[in-house]
């Protein structure tokens, strides 16, 4: 046993040193990483609800809104209440994160009007679709189609839409378009249910 300990002392010492180093790195960067993510969500939420985001010369976003995370009974759903800066004044809207699978994991952020009746914007949070095909879901034209009433579930069509709740799919990117539409429908449905039940309580 002693012999074995002699052999493995290096592994143990290294583990100890590196464990400490890792823990220190984690500790010192944790907050910043969380802030980064929050910042990104906040930027996209402003884009999705207010519709514009001004940056100063350093590239720092000038925020007009603040986010308040909603405590919902459905723990799988991440949604924020969007408030004007300083938290005073009427609610600007809601921001919901929708998750789904296109060709790979997809994360979108959906902006909703204060009364949840309208989708005010759609932003892509994370996507790894095929460039030139599926990645075109990031294009403004495609995303603008989703700014419409949220009363009825959206429907994806492959030709020019004839009804208001229809969204036209991207040619050659049907699967990605389908994924986005499905994510929007589920997320909006879920958040409406959750907020309504919250309000009742």
């Amino acid at each position: 046993m002693l012999n074995m300990l002699k052999q493995i002392w290096l592994v143990l010492v290294l583990s100890l040193i590196f464990g400490a180093a890792l823990a220190y790195t984690d500790q010192s960067t944790k907050q910043r990483i969380a802030e980064n993510r929050q910042q990104q969500i906040r930027e996209l939420a402003q884009m999705a609800t207010v519709g514009e985001l001004v940056r100063d010369e350093k590239g720092q976003a000038q925020f007009k809104i603040e986010l308040k995370k909603l405590e919902l009974s459905d723990k799988t759903l991440v949604a924020y209440e969007v408030l004007p800066i300083g938290g005073k004044g009427p609610r600007v809207g809601y921001a919901v994160i929708g998750e789904g699978i296109g060709w790979d994991r997809l994360l979108v952020l959906i902006g909703l009007s204060p009364d949840l009746s309208k989708i005010t914007g759609l932003e892509i949070l994370e996507s790894r679709e095929t460039p030139g095909l599926g990645e075109r879901i990031k294009g403004d034209e495609f995303r603008a189609q989703y700014r419409k009433s949220a009363q009825k579930p959206l429907e994806l069509v492959k030709s020019t839409p004839t009804e208001d709740h229809q969204v036209m799919a991207l040619t050659g990117a049907t699967i990605s378009s389908e994924a986005v539409t499905a994510m929007v429908n589920t997320a909006v449905g879920k958040v409406r249910k959750a907020i309504q039940s919250n309000n009742k309580n």
């Binding site: 290096l10 592994v11 994370e126 790894r128």
Partner: protein
Amino acid sequence: MSKSNLVSQFTNGLWAENPSLVMLIGMCPTLAITNSVANALTMGMATMFVLVCSNLVISLIRSQLQAHLRILVYMLIVATFVTVADYMLQAYLFTMSQSLGPYVPLIIVNCVILARAEICAAKKGPVTSFVDGLGVGLGFTFSLTLLGVIRELFGSRSILNYQILPDSFEPWVVMVLPSGAFLTLGLVIGLVNYLRSRKRVEA
């Protein structure tokens, strides 16, 4: 270790034993993230950081290495530095770490690093290993960036997101796709082989 030996150890990794263009190791990042110059540069730098650090540490403890435990020790060291690099990217280059996705943590299993640990760091002194890590890391960064420049230029008309080619140039989508990575890599390796063979004839 004499000065000229150090220089040759350094240039060795840049050209004669360039990991991705000559030895064809570390193909996963080479093919996966060279669709833009920024990605390629960041990836190359991250790999170089890990390579230099792990080479140095392994070289320092090489006399204490037990043959049957050495891979475990390598993995421990490499994984630590990769995690540090990953956290740093997430903290200070957030958008970049998002676009690199899982490829930064995957440096742990990049065979360039394990290969250098076995070939150089476990056998040679810390100075040599440091220089070797620097040379190979730079060579790796160079080849990734070269691919990145070609692919981004033709695939999105820009270099480092700065538009180079005019709007009238229709971007070749294939270049930013994986198939474009294979095409570009093949052509670049062909060119490198041609240059190497010409050099050999002259020598």
